[in-house]
């Protein structure tokens, strides 16, 4: 599964980072950096991040 972020929506609130810290991180510029693919065994956490994002900026897609 691939993760995509809509940069126009993401405001760097970082809820995704707290739910799946291996996948998402807010960098020193306050911007979200993320891995493109969902790592093995982390789909639940990434799904929680997708639904936890207050701006609905994250999407999971079949890769």
């Amino acid at each position: 599964m691939r993760i995509t972020v809509d940069r126009n929506k993401c405001t760097g609130l970082g809820i995704c980072e707290s739910l799946a810290p291996d996948v998402f991180e807010i960098n020193d510029d306050g911007e979200l950096v993320l891995t493109a693919e969902v790592p093995d065994g982390q789909l639940d956490d990434v799904e929680a991040a997708v639904s936890g994002c207050p701006t609905e900026a994250l999407r999971l897609e079949q890769s």
Partner: protein, 408 residues
Amino acid sequence: MSRENLVVVGASLAGLRAVEAARKAGFRGAITLVGAEEHLPYDRPPLSKSFLDDRDPEPPVFRTESVLRDDLGVELSLGTPATGLDVAGKQVRVGERCLDYDALVIATGATARTLPGSQHLAGVHTVRTLDDAVAVRKALDAGARTLVVGAGFIGSEIASGARARGLDVTVVEAQATPLVRAVGEVMGSACSRLHHDNGTDLRCGVGVQRVEGDGRVERVVLSDGSVIDAELVVVGIGATPATDWLRDSGLTLDSLDNGVVCDETLCTGAEGVYAAGDVARWHNPVFERAMRLEHWTSAAEQGALAARNALDPAAATPYRTVPYFWSDVYGSRIQFVGVPASDEVRVVEGDPDRGGRIVALYREGDRLAGALTINGQNVIMKYRGLITKATSWPDALAFAEQRRAVAT
């Protein structure tokens, strides 16, 4: 026992997440979503932020009517509040109708407190609903001199929105320091600096004596005798759980704030009845205490969990969380995780007297219990992780030291 009728009362964030989670969990029965407002579920944080911009923003509606009705198969009952709950007969009263349920999620949120003796005047508003925000935006469009009562987060955001348009703004706060209950003394005053730095006239330790005007607000008289002219008065003095409709239900309401008292699985104690969001006071196992939050993240998560638990009580799981909220004021982002414990507050980055980026940690016993940042997006969630893992205070300080070393 399989369930057939899920009723969700309160059609906002927690209520929406409840119906979505029910379908996601495979529930095929009937779902009715009952909302007092005419509007489809919409998002509140933007109401005091981007929605007040001088551009013409769209109402922040979460889902279209067709997604709710057709894709999720939800019966929408909007525009009429629920007025009663019979837990023995398992019915919710809505207007003339009685809805049967075998699973119920209470998600009626909270209602803004009003300033006694001012509500009859035009130009006096709270900001809780979309209608409130539309009215405030209109007043800002007209260039109203603005007075905000209460320097809490929502009041501060409104002040910031008015300043962004170059309007004169006064904020009146009854406490000597704003936000003391939310973030403690030191950081409360750090947050209040933002008002001063941005040209807002913040007056602490004074109350509102009366709001005057002839049909429409013209001026506000403060307890220190000063008089401030204003065409817009925004009252941001907190909210109380919307539980009037539950008064005769037999559910336990908190003796102090009337929140719905729940166990750690969000169950109210009545069969099949769960509560979620701003309305719910539940036992949070992470901090081993009862709490009621008025935060976006917990409302969303509780809504989903309350529905899953209500539909399958035998497998109910507790709601464990490290509370999180954010606020955007004057271009700065304030974020808080955990609880504002008061055993010790240590500023580990920045200087509250100078403004700019600040990171502060809160200690309870020998454990890290909370963290607040102003413009600290890159660390705040790392502290949330540390709090989740019950990190000791010395370890938290060591982490902060290491981050600081990297940054400089």
